[in-house]
Amino acid sequence: MAIVGSRRPSPYGEAVAEQLGLELARAGVVVVSGLALGIDAAAHRGALNAGGVTVAVMGTGVDVIYPAAHGALAEAILAAGGALVSQFPDGTTPRRHNFPARNYTMAALADIVVVVEAAEGSGALITAEAALDLHKEVMAVPGSVFSPLSVGTHSLLRDGAGLVQNARDILAALRLGGEVLDDPLATPKHLGFKLPGERDGILSHLSDVLALNAAEIARKLQLPIAEVLGRLTALELDGAVRRHQGGYVRALRRGKERA
């Protein structure tokens, strides 16, 4: 099962990828991804959090970790019994033209390719196309119609990709559904996230995908900007909001079972 997507996802996409990685690994599925920033790393991380096996298909030689910041992640993948896989000889440095070939390999290794967030022209869409060439199934996670990061996934859905609302959708497609029916996680209600409590009027005005800046929030709430800035920081300290792209988004909190 491959999870792919944008290298610069929204907090929403990152949270979804991590959660899918976790639940699929827990169900015994091997999570394949590309060790890249963003969705890839989140999927690997999720699988590792479940103590699962995950495979990183690399666009460089297996001895060249790219991006370099993912050295620790690569170590963790190996330590958990996973694998770093590459079709390139040792010492191959990151080259732009190698990555589409890597994407093809990733699709070949997986039974299903799930695209979490992909803007138009994203590399994840190349993986999806490769999967179709190889007669593998492609599934996609929907997002906000306002988000540029969901344009690619929505066009996949329109073209017939399977809809992913939770890990169970994927497990069903893998014909593993029966085995997890008892799993209390496998109900849509338990996608795994809890919205932060509505103690504060600000939160109801924030989206989890599109960033709003303090000025926009202040205008909606008719509050002085200084006060809104202070309250946003308080929410940030509590982990209820995050900064994203020059504004603020609602942070998706992991459910209790993730603690």
Binding site: R7, R8, L37, G38, P67, A119, E120, F146, P148, L210, A211, N213, A214, A215, A218, R219, I225, A226, E227, L229, G230, R231, L232, T233, A234, L237, R243, H244, Q245, G246, G247
Partner: protein, 471 residues
Amino acid sequence: MLVGLAATTVKEARERVRSAIRNSGLEFPTTRLTVNLAPAEMRKEGTALDLPMAVAIALARAGKAAPPRSAFLGELALDGSIRHVDGVLVAARGLWTLGYERVFVPAVDAPEAALVDGLEVIPCASLIAVVNHLLGVQPISPAARGDLDSAPPAAIDHDLAEVHGQEEAKRALEVAAAGGHHLLMSGPPGAGKTMLARCLPGILPPLELAEALEVAQVRSLLGELPREGPLDWARPFRAPHHGVSMAGLIGGGSGLAQPGEISRAHHGVLFLDELAEFQTPVLQALRQPLEAGRVGITRSGGSVTYPARFTLVAATNPCPCGWAGDGVRGCRCTPAAIDTYQRRLSGPLLDRIDLQVSVRRVHLEMLASEGRGEPSVSVRDRVVAARSRQHERQGCLNAQLKPARLRQLAGLAPEPRRALERWGAQRGITARGFHRAWRVARTSADLDGSEQIEEHHILEALGFRLQDVAA
């Protein structure tokens, strides 16, 4: 004969002085004549020494001594008329502090020298007029004292009321103005960063007399003072292009260093657009003046220290193409390119900027529908009130408070302290960053008219720390 370490411009004075004396109808001695420039170990430069040399020769001829505690400045033309020299205001103030009571300056530069309170200024049109004055033949009346008190209310060139939306950035400007904090704006092209920066001088109080004199001194050195009304009460606004050289920004040049953009922005605003495009060494060189409020430069001609207490307003795009985070246009930069771009800005310079704010593009429909914002004049009233609170309490602006005085003057109650410490623990900020947020909170409280820093002041200050987010 001319002795005493004279530069080329001074050596040339020999010809000018000789011609000027002859063409003024005075007699130039035919015997051997020695002019000694003392102290001899100091290199003399510039044409302002023409007049004193000519006067000395003429008076020696007449067998008279120059009046006591008097100084002469001016360049001679061959016909004996006296021409403008740069830096008269600086020289006049320096002479006044050295105990001189009277200066003879070129007539065109007299209004400049007359700004020095108490100094008698004799405007000199020609060499013969000066000699006649000194011999008591035809006295010159001193220049009228400069008009120092009539500070006209500085006109506001760019009004905040014309900026639509952008309340977050406007608030950051207000805090920057009130506490003397430096500001970084990050946002895509066309978001209005330049317009916002240009509004800052308008919400700062007009210059005070001492400040206006310092601003005029820098301009005097550069020969940029307007003849009529040399004193300008408006705060300087300097926006050097990102291609600016080290010498252009910090000061430099051959011989004795000339003031750079940071000194021209003294008591005003230095706006650096496209901060990441500036050469790294140039940005590094900003660090010392940012801390000290002045800059020391050493060149072959000697060392000088110029004032450079400015408010830095920097603007940057969030990524190389500029569109990261823009809702409408997508960014085409790779994450690695964005990382490299932002890393150019990080580190010590960013650590000295108290306020950071994201600026986003305002939608066109909002430009049309939104009412006018708060005018600069009313923002300035709050800024002035906040600044006078600071001056009463501590004699300087919050941005200049050293950590020890900050602890003593702006103690934190347990609740705000806890918020600050929680943030520090979560984001791993440096001690310097910790104190910066504290100072900004002090300013936020001053704008509120509150003697105590409350939790919400700290929280607002932390909201202006973007660089912690990545951590």
